[in-house]
Each structure stands twice: as C-alpha cells, then as structure tokens.
Amino acid sequence: MIQRNNSYRLLPFKFTHIGNKELIVNEVGDYLFMPNGTVQRVISGSVNRNTEEYRDLLSKFIICDSYNDILQDVIATRIRTKKSFLDGFTSLHIFVLTLRCNQKCVYCQATSQNKDCVNKDMKIEDLNKAISLMLKSPNPHITMEFQGGESSLVPSLVEHAILETERQNKSVGKEIKYVICTNIIHFSEELLNLCEKYNVFVSTSLDGPESIHDSNRGVSGSYKHFVDSLLRIRERLGQDRISPLMTTSVLSLNYPIEIVDSYRQLSFHYIFLRPLNPYGRAKENEDWNLYFDKFLEFYKKSLDYILLLNKRGEFFVEGFTAMVMKKILTPFPIGFVDLQSPAGIINSVVVYNYDGYVYCSDESRMMAESGDFTFRLGKVSDKYEDIFYGKKAQALSRVWATEYIAGCSDCAFQQYCGADPVRNYSTQGDWYGHRPSSLFCKFHKAVFEYLFELIDRRGNEVLPIIRRWIYD
C-alpha cells in the first residue's frame, strides 16, 4: 500500500502513453496531457501543492483535496449527464419493411432480394404490432426509420406504416421523426408527397464521384439517377431534408480527396466516414486487418483535407470525428448507437424485421438470414417487457458496457468507446469478446490515438474548427 505524504486523494482515472507523453483521463472523459512519469508521481503522493500541475490535476478531477459532498455531487452530475442518452430508453426504431432491392452493392449487408420478391415484405399485421411495441418505449421522442432492402420499392407499406403510427400515436402523444433510408434512384411522386406531408427525412447513400459510386452500387447509371432524384427531392422538401451516408469499399480507399470533393460538388457540407462492417456480403474474401489499416490511412487523409478546407473558410464537417470529439471535449453524450456504453442495442436502437421478429440491431437480423437467432429478442406479438427486459436482454446487460468487460475496464479510452456484443459475436464467435484480437478495439484505439495526437500537436489550429462542428 503506497503511503502518501501529501494528503490529496485520488479520484478514479485511467491513463495511457501517447507519443512521449502520458494521457490521463478521468471517469467522465476529461483528459490531460502530462509528461512521462506523472502518473507514478501522482499515485506516490509526490505532487507539490504549489504547482500548476497540482491545479491541472484538481481541475480535471484526477485528484482532490478531499472527497467532500459537493465535489461528489459535481462528478455524479457529470456521470449522469454522460449517460443521459439512456433516459428515454430506446429512441431509434428501425423497420425493415422489405428485403427487395434494385441495386447490387458490392458491400451489401442486407442479403437483398430481387425487386419483385413479395414474400420478403413485412406483413401488415406484423407492422401494426411492431408499431404498438415502438410506441410503448418510454421515450417521448422517437425516430421511426424505414430500411430494407430498398424501402422505396414498397411505398404503400411506408405509407401504411406512417398512417398507422399517426393513428396509434394519437392516444400516446410522442414526438416522432420519420426517416426513410433509400438509394433514391426511383423516388416516386407519391413517396415525395408522403415525405412532404409527414416531414419525412431522407437518408441516402453517396459513395463518391460517378465512377466510384456506380462501381460500388453494382448498377451503371446509378450516380446519374441519384443526382436527378437528389435535385427533385431538394426542390420539393428542402436542402436539409436529405443527407447521404458513405460506405467505404476497397475501391473507395484510394480516393479520399475525390470522395470528399464529390460531396462538396453536390452542395453537401457533411460527410460521415465509416469503415465497412465485416459481415453480410462484405464478409467474403477480405483480409480485414489490411482493410482496416488502409481505412485508417484513408480516414487520416480525408480528415486532413477537410480540416484544410475549413481553414480556408469553408464549413465542412467530418461526422465521425465530430462524434468522437464531442465525447472528448464536452460533458454531453452522443446519439451514435455504434459507440456507446451501455451498448446501443436495445438501449438506443431496436429492429423490427420483415419476418415479424424483433432484433437487437440491424446486424443481428442479418444473422437470422443465415439461421443464427442469437440476437433475436422475440416476436412482434410478444409482450413489450419480455422483449425489452427479457432473459436475452438481461444476459446481454452483463457484457454490454466498457466499464466492466475485460480489456475495456482499464482502457484510457473507455469513456469515448463503446461495447458491441453483436460485433464481438459475429467476428469472434463470442458476445463477450476478446479485446486483444478485436479489430473493433484495434481500429478505435488507433482513431483515438490519432485524434489525441492531433490535439496535442496541432490543437491550436484544429480545435477551434472542430468545436464549431460539435456545437453547430
């Protein structure tokens, strides 16, 4: 037991090495860069009360003079704030209305079917039951998101879903945001009318300039159709009601600048850089270590370019960086379900599948297509409590937080990262996960290290830009 001469107390904190410094992070994600050897001196009581260092450590809740009640309340409030995304429980409700699709994306995870395959549509009775489950969520604000397959192929189902939700919601009174995920290449007038009437937000895909986009989508002419539809939708619904996500195929990895520019050319001011998930059609014949190494390079080049654009006066946001930096720089949580502790599954998002069953996440219902029902929570006709608080959910709760699983419980990046039992299971065969061999861990660690290096070396230049992204 180490004797401390100086009577300051330690507060819970984590640390790691970045470059030739120590990065110290407190229980709520406040960080401090200190010279090597600081942690040793902190825990051995060698920090002198007359130093700026002492004040830095106090300010960031690494040490304290005493565990007084007020300090405890301040930190407890911070913890509650960080976890406040849990307040309303499940907020994002994904409805996989159909598996039918009209494209053949090389990285498709949706096990998409031919566009005429009607028996892969959700049945009306199941849809109605799923809607009543959704409305049982305690959250006063929910998002109802239509996915697939390609949801624009089933406009009458989308319409029914919205109308039925509006009808059932009359007695419930929630604020509902509707989102339709679609490649928009065939966006009918009736769908446009529906979106206008119910303020539906359009989430679409743009992989880059024409050559990359068409190559990724597996259907030539994709890009042209996309642009046509984009202009129509913008004109009718407004600039802010449609935004694209980008998927980084192996081809995409070579074109960071071109992809960012393709977004700018179409007047988008926001891009979300994310790597492929290692399952679905993407799982075949890939060396995932190599992919993630290359993606990291792609990410760094893209981010560098985007920061340069911002320095030149153009407001352009990199979404993934903004999300992570929001966790690092602010006391607030983020709504990104893939990087949360407790995990996004069930706590933030749930999937109602065309087959009439409820699943933890988008990825978990795809496993069902190959006969793996590990993350199936129940049938839409089951009771809400049995699905959301049942045995499966309880079992998952033992493994779904970075605070208490092996490898994460000591990690300096614990407060910025997330737990993902589904990803663990699909890549490692076990939902607890093995951190040393986890690509999820390796990738996110590399990103956090890179961003902290950026903060350390180029903070004066980069932080003002990123703060504008976060608080916008």
């Binding site: 229980e27 942690v39 509650r80 079992a395």
Partner: protein
C-alpha cells in the same frame, strides 16, 4: 521482469517475480500478449516463468520494453483501483440515486 532469454526469432522466455506483481496484474499483461503469442507459464517458487511463441519474427528488444511498461502500467492501475474503488461506487450510486424504480434481475445464466 528478469532473465529475458531470446530463443530464436519467434520465441523468448522471461521470469516475473510473483512477489513484485500481483496475479491480477500478471494475468492482465498476459491477456494482452495472447493475441500475438502463444503464452505458456510455469510457477517456480516465487517466480513465474513465461514463454512466448509467435508465428512471426519478433523484435524482442521492443517486446521486452513493451512488456516491462505493461507490467508497470497495470501495477499502477491496480493501485489506483484499490484506492478509488469505493469512491467510484459512491459516485455511480449518487449519479443514479434519483431513479427509484430499480428491478433486480437474477442474471446468472
């Protein structure tokens, strides 16, 4: 860590003094090593003999430094955990104490 013995490009052995480092600290270090290496351990009095074997050529100079740093780091983390275990619990209890309707589930599978 002492007596670091290199036995070719892919294999090395070393001892850890089990009086200096707790079992928990040693296990955590070995946990992180077992992705890149096959780890074998034998106890001999107060020493733990560790053997690492890899499929790939390894720079053992760097590895030696890494293992040494990891042992030191996890030991410091253990000190921090011991001292802050109780206050951490108190902070979390305080953070969520206004939520009265907890349900305890028996989560043993």
């Amino acid at each position: 860590m002492n007596s670091f013995r290199i036995i070719g490009n892919k294999k090395a052995q070393f001892n850890i003094d089990a009086n200096m480092f707790s079992k928990s600290v040693i296990m955590k270090v070995l946990y992180w090593l077992n992705n890149d290496f096959v780890v074998q351990t034998t106890s001999h009095e107060s020493q733990l003999l560790v053997e690492l074997e890899s499929n790939n050529d390894t720079d053992w100079n760097i590895m030696k430094k890494t293992i040494s740093t990891m042992l030191n780091d996890f030991q410091m983390r253990e000190v921090i955990e011991k001292e802050t275990h109780d206050i951490r619990n108190i902070l979390y209890v305080k953070a969520f104490s206004n939520i009265d309707n907890f349900t305890e589930y028996d989560t043993e599978e």
